[in-house]
């Protein structure tokens, strides 16, 4: 097949120009009935081109807010986001997003779902179907082109969503807990798949997660966030050999990293828990 090599070569050359994300002093406040809440407080970091960076933190640390800000779906924040050195406002063609929620279009079959971004960019039908087929194959769903999402399992649907984002050939991939709704085994195997594709396409990848194993399994670096307001607590280098597969989870180095991250995270997570309990008590008292 000639199509896949053409696509990856394509990505590699342009990645040098724009596959670099800068996040500078982002502050985001929300106005709620109970007052103003600071979700993200002065967060800065870089994602180097071709790097796999994970952001990990307890629920309520503002990581999904950050995801939406970098993806350009959420405005009205302080600070700036740069892609390839240029400040961006709103969505950017180089960025592809994979969402946490069920996001396949139920009225389109697998092929039409994956071809969606190509349809938006105005590719002729034959060509976009050919490219869509390539990415369906990449996530291992050959033979399911004509099925509708309702006929697939949750894991298969998420693979469709991932293939759809990949089909747009983004140099930068943003993923917000893409495996959250899946069981542990599917999560590990799909993680392998994503890593394999990411490595071969040399995509700059930013993964939002609350799963330590997943973060260590996939990442070059892990950014640990604090519980509300979300700040950068620490950035950890993961020095595990590549190429990696999920088999790495049994190695001692892996366990060491997991323990290290958990050490950082435990304090934040228990703060989050106490806070939630206080909220629940407050609601109960009303």
């Amino acid at each position: 097949m000639s199509a896949p090599t053409a696509i990856s070569a394509d990505v590699r050359t342009s990645a040098q120009q724009v596959g670099f994300v800068g996040v500078e002093n982002i502050v985001k406040r929300f106005v709620t009935p109970e007052g103003t809440v600071c979700a993200v407080d002065d967060v800065s970091f870089d994602v180097r081109h071709g790097e796999f960076l994970s952001i990990i933190g307890p629920s309520g640390c503002g990581k999904s807010t950050l995801f939406n800000i970098i993806g350009g779906l959420l405005g009205d924040y302080e600070g700036r986001v740069t892609v390839g050195g240029e400040t961006i406002r709103g969505t950017h063609a180089a960025i592809g997003m994979v969402f946490q929620e069920e996001s396949t279009f139920p009225w389109r079959n697998v092929l039409e779902n994956v071809a969606f971004p190509l349809e938006i960019s105005g590719l002729p039908k034959a060509e976009r179907h050919e490219r869509a087929r390539h990415f369906i194959g990449l996530v291992g769903l050959d033979g399911f082109e004509r099925r509708h999402p309702a006929e697939l399992s949750g894991g298969m649907r998420q693979r469709v969503a991932i293939a759809r984002t990949l089909a747009a050939a983004p140099q930068i991939l943003l993923m917000d807990e893409p495996f959250a709704a899946l069981d542990e085994q599917t999560r590990l195997l799909l993680g392998d798949k994503v890593l394999q594709i990411q490595q071969s396409l040399k995509q700059t990848t930013l993964l939002i997660t609350h799963n330590i194993t997943e973060a260590v399994q996939l990442s070059d670096r892990i950014l640990v966030m604090t519980y509300r307001p979300g700040r950068v607590k620490r950035i950890v280098d993961i020095e595990l050999p590549r190429p990696r597969t999920s088999e790495i989870v049994s190695s001692t180095a892996f366990g060491h990293h997991v323990a290290e991250i958990w050490n950082d995270l435990r304090e934040e997570a228990s703060r989050g828990m106490r806070d939630e309990e206080a909220h629940a008590r407050h609601r109960g008292a009303l």
């Binding site: 939406n68 993806g71 350009g72 779906l73 969505t91 063609a93 960025i95 592809g96 997003m97 969402f99 929620e101 069920e102 996001s103 279009f105 139920p106 009225w107 389109r108 969606f116 971004p117 349809e119 938006i120 509708h148 999402p149 309702a150 006929e151 747009a168």
Partner: protein
């Protein structure tokens, strides 16, 4: 006691039960007709109804009146449906407009519409236009309400997907909003067809010289009971068929989604 939908009851047995029920009902009807227990002709014999039905279907008159009624209902559905869709999109798209005006539609929806017929006659005369107007008024409400509700029910993540791929506004409407709202809109049209049909036909029975409603009231005033049954049977069959037809457009192959 077993629970849940019927499992194991074979198709064959169901058919047998259905045929049996129909036969029992028909036999009871015939017995009642021949017993003379009820006033004369209120329950005509089956053969009399069958004869009247065949006669009805053979009259060209029947098709002219059917044409008038179908035309009125179709026009009513078009006028009420398009205005309902537009109003629904407006109310569903704006939180302020929705909160301001939807309560009125919500509470006015389930009021009897036929009582507006005198007003429709004053505005549009005694001809078919007043029937169309009443039908349009009736179907406006369910279509506007279900469109508005459908718009609000669109999964927010699907809208974010569209935006993340930088779809234009028109692409968002045609490729995301409308497909996502297909089910509620079709359901609204289905409800709308039901009420438009009732309003139009009732108006025809009240004051008209054509249409299905007129045929019913004509049979009533000449006390031709077999004919009245024949018209009602034809009407119910057509109404049920039309409703089933629209239902087919409802679901994309995703009835199991969620």
């Amino acid at each position: 006691m077993t629970i849940g939908p019927v499992v194991g009851a074979g198709f064959g047995r169901v058919t047998v039960v259905r045929v049996a029920i129909i036969l029992v009902l028909l036999a009871a009807w015939e017995a009642l007709a021949r017993s003379g227990l009820l006033f004369r002709d209120v329950v005509p014999t089956l053969s009399a109804i069958a004869r009247a039905f065949v006669t009805l279907l053979l009259q060209p008159d029947f098709y002219t009146n059917l044409g008038w009624t179908v035309g009125e209902i179709a026009l009513a559905l078009l006028v009420g449906g398009v205005s309902g869709l537009l109003v629904g999109l407006l109310l569903g798209g704006s939180r302020l407009l929705g909160r301001a005006f939807e309560p009125y539609l919500y509470y006015l929806g389930p009021t009897p519409k036929i009582i507006f017929f005198p007003v429709m006659i004053m505005w549009f005369g005694v001809g078919p236009t007043s029937k169309v107007a009443l039908g349009a008024l009736s179907c406006f409400f369910p279509i506007a309400l279900s469109t508005a509700a459908g718009m609000r029910q669109i999964d927010a993540v699907l809208i974010r997907v569209g935006r993340s791929f930088r779809a234009t506004t028109s692409e968002m409407v045609t490729k995301i909003y409308l497909p996502a709202m297909r089910e509620p809109i079709v359901n609204g049209v289905r409800l709308g067809l039901g009420v438009a049909m009732i309003a139009t036909l009732l108006a025809e029975t009240k004051l008209s010289n054509r249409g299905f409603g007129y045929l019913i009231i004509q049979a009533y005033s000449t006390f031709d009971m077999p004919r009245m049954y024949a018209v009602l049977i034809a009407l119910f069959a057509l109404a049920i068929a039309a409703n089933a037809l629209i239902g087919r457009f409802s679901a994309y192959r995703a009835s199991r989604f969620r």
